[in-house]
């Protein structure tokens, strides 16, 4: 199953908690596949990208453009997001020789570039981010209501905090995108763990699957998700 096929499959089954048995076996095969394989370390598109083939950049844009654009939109607003997204992919193209698949995934690398680009844009025009979600709670504060008073040190602290919040937003969106690429059953388990903080036993009961299956699925999913984030902080 290709990545696109898997994406379509996940989309199709997003609302389905209990997929048919034949599709269940397909899910198992995805989860059981070696992580390196699923991360497409040997992805011909990445090889072509590194070799400077522009068609590969288009494919990468098709895969990850909406993630980068969405992150830029959240941080900069829709007007500046388009230009920022262009700059991200242009920067990625110019520095393609520096990308190392073994050091991190392509979306993590792209989002790492996007994070710096957003921070650069905000710094260069002296403006503030559209919103600052300091905690990830979804309780978004306006950039003017963060409680910082004026003054040099406070201004520096505010900038550092805003930059950290931007970075965290990007990492959360990267994680969310990675979760959406898990097979439906694993995705549901991970969501229950992250959103509702359920124990393995509770997840087993909720999903009506054996406890051992929950443990193994979650373990492999966590490893897969962790690998998907690698490279973001180092980009």
């Amino acid at each position: 199953m290709t990545r696109n096929e898997r994406e379509k499959w996940v989309e199709k089954n997003d609302a389905s908690i209990h997929p048919p048995s034949d599709e269940l076996s397909a899910m198992e095969s995805v989860l059981d596949r070696p992580i390196e394989s699923s991360l497409q370390v040997d992805d011909p598109c990445i090889t072509a990208f590194s070799n400077g083939e522009e068609t590969a950049l288009k494919e990468i844009y098709d895969r990850h453009g909406s993630l980068v654009f969405s992150f830029c939109t959240r941080s900069l607003g829709p007007v500046r997001a388009a230009d920022a997204t262009q700059e991200v992919f242009l920067a990625a193209w110019k520095s393609r020789e520096r990308y190392r698949p073994e050091s991190g995934t392509l979306p993590a690398w792209l989002m790492g570039i996007a994070r710096f680009k957003v921070i650069d844009i905000l710094r260069s025009d002296g403006r503030k981010p559209i919103s600052i979600d300091m905690t990830g709670s979804g309780e978004v504060a306006s950039a003017d209501s963060t409680g910082f008073s004026d003054g040099g040190f406070q201004a520096d602290l505010r900038t550092a905090t805003e930059n950290a919040a931007i970075s965290l937003t990007g990492e959360r969106m990267l994680l969310a995108a990675a979760i959406k690429h898990l097979p439906a059953r694993a995705q549901q388990m991970v969501r229950l763990k992250f959103f509702e903080d359920l124990t393995h036993a509770q997840i087993a009961e909720r999903c009506d699957v054996p406890l051992g299956t929950v443990k193994s699925d979650i373990r492999r999913s966590l490893e897969r998700l962790r690998r998907q984030l690698e490279g973001y902080q180092d980009a």
Partner: protein, 206 residues
């Protein structure tokens, strides 16, 4: 299956950062906005432009480019302003990578907590400056850091663009590193184009 495979406590400890990040997720993090349909066309155009300009032009200084920069740099190192610390010239595995380390410099800290090293690399006819910076704080609001190449007489600093930390830039063909061997990092007010005179780090490529 390893023993710890089923131990939730070990799992929590091993993936503590990831799980903490996962707990902070909101549904809005899953929502993606479709990019404008013409956005790719813009990227394609800018990539084509970048490809047609193998090296970007910032300031044209001289039509004549020194073809023997390495020798010139070595000689210049003796007589020109020396600000940097440990330096070296060596070749690195050029047979395999095609990249040659032409010169380097440990930048002297003039102000602030940041430290940095600079390396001048050459691949074919293209030169790149790789700056590795540490402890560089975010620039104060309304200002930014900028990377420069400067001649020893400081007659006309050449901007290589803004920077936020470690960076790698292609040096425009118009800038001769033999003439502009001094790497300088300044603090600039946003909107200014000339060197502010407020240098934080500086060193001479040798």
């Amino acid at each position: 299956m390893p023993e710890d495979f089923t131990d939730p406590d070990l799992e929590e400890a091993e993936y503590v950062t990831l799980i903490s990040l996962g707990h902070s997720l909101t549904e809005s993090d899953f929502e993606l906005t479709s990019a404008p349909t013409d956005l790719w066309a813009g990227i394609e155009a800018r990539v084509s432009t970048a490809e047609s300009q193998s090296v970007p032009t910032v300031v044209v200084l001289s039509e004549h480019r020194n073809r023997n920069k390495k020798l010139f740099l070595a000689a210049a190192a003796v007589v020109l302003l020396v600000v940097g610390g440990a330096v070296g010239i060596k070749m690195v595995d050029s047979s395999r990578t095609g990249t040659e380390l032409v010169a380097s410099a440990d930048l002297t800290v003039l102000e602030g907590p940041a430290t940095a090293q600079a390396k001048l690399l050459r691949s074919g006819d293209s030169e790149r400056l790789v700056v590795t910076a540490e402890n560089m704080p975010a620039a104060p609001v309304g200002s930014h850091y900028e990377l420069w190449l400067v001649d020893p007489q400081v007659t006309k600093p050449q901007s290589l663009g803004p920077m936020t930390g470690s960076t790698e830039v292609t040096i425009p063909a118009s800038i001769d590193t033999a003439v502009y061997p001094v790497v300088d990092i300044s603090l600039q007010q946003n909107g200014t184009h000339d060197h502010s005179g407020h240098s934080l780090l500086r060193g001479t490529l040798q």
